[in-house]
Symmetry: C2
Subunit: 234 residues, 2 copies
Amino acid sequence: MEKRAIANAWSGVSNCENCGIRHLALFADLEHTDFELIHKPIMEVEKKAGDRLYGEGDEGQFLYTVRSGVIKLTQYLPDGGQRIVRLLRTGDVAGLEVLVNPTYEHYATVLRDAELCQIPRDVVERLNRETPRLHNQLLNRWHTAVKQADEWLTELSTGSSKSRVARLVIGLSDKVDNSCYLFSREDLGAILGVTTETTSRIIAEFKREGSLKDLGKNHFLADLVRLQNIANEN
Amino acid sequence: MEKRAIANAWSGVSNCENCGIRHLALFADLEHTDFELIHKPIMEVEKKAGDRLYGEGDEGQFLYTVRSGVIKLTQYLPDGGQRIVRLLRTGDVAGLEVLVNPTYEHYATVLRDAELCQIPRDVVERLNRETPRLHNQLLNRWHTAVKQADEWLTELSTGSSKSRVARLVIGLSDKVDNSCYLFSREDLGAILGVTTETTSRIIAEFKREGSLKDLGKNHFLADLVRLQNIANEN
DNA sequence: TTGATGCATTGCGAATTATCAATGGAATAA
DNA sequence: TTATTCCATTGATAATTCGCAATGCATCAA
């Protein structure tokens, strides 16, 4: 995990303004003068799979914009059971809740090596107070989060585990080349609320029947038509 | 379903400003001058259990603040399966998504007779543009929605159906007098992602073992300690 | 009161999923 | 190369949940 200061205040400003993924990021709508409101450095950090960004209950100092990679947000039950409630990808923001509450509400863990912009909470709060151009982006982020949560409830937590795995694979597939990078069976199970073994059995079955072709390293070729049928069955 | 215009523009304004539940409502932080920005009537509507506020895909003309009663937000799967993704109660807002998208994203149905404030989308959009005092409330609403969705994923869609029913009953219980108003077994099942029969069996079992005491009309006395144990078991 | 209606409950067999334990296979380090 | 380690897969069995049909129960209207 390497940390590279984009900057002291001024050059941090300069870099955000020219960020390659700015059109996807929280600061998409900011104008030149807005960037002058940023008086704390925004760091670009790299994290490896397995690294933790923050834990539930930790004091929320930073928000994170995902530049690349995948982050999982996890919550635990009293009995120790865990559930992955959301996946964050390029352009998504982790830790939005610290604008409303002092602490984080999830464990944020890197699922695939990630590059992130680490933004001090103060910076976002100040921009939120002083320029209206951040508001729409913030509302959009919240909306996206609710939408994903609702989809997970209806699509990934309803029906037989077979259809649910199928829906998850479809959701993780690149619709252009039908390729699909999966996660460990344990993580897939934690997304779906089923056991590791059940997930494994179903994916193995998909491979046997040709719905998935194994390309190695958890990379698959997906037969989306077939999977869609399974997804709709039950 | 009776509709009573609070007003032409001016008296609508006046009434919102003096609303009995304003401290809970979307307009909680507005100041006197902000109310003058409201140039369309806000209607107070009464709906009976079973009435529908709007459907998924409908053009989103209104937001609704719940004054009393309970509203369910439902999504459907292609195979016809349905899932209740959220319950709205006093102070909650239905239809927030129309500030971001043109159409509603759920079916909103009255679960218990409800009184609602029907607010034209334009009104909220204008206030959102012209007064910063609505922003925090909007962010808060979104945050609440995400939080409830996440809780439903971890608590109501994880573990055995018995623990899930127990967690749901606890969540629906009045912590002061341990009383609990349930819904039809079908609705409870749609909240938990299990069948009506399974839900019914579990609640019947709770009654037999004394975790719930039936007071008639889906009103129960809950033994929260016992239920909590069941909730944590598995 | 008497039906009629709409739910809730229950029984039972089938299907699904969990659980525990063993085996297999691929990637990595020595 | 050879171990080693970490997962994924599979088997066997138990437990849970579903699906369908029958029955019970309370409410409401005639």
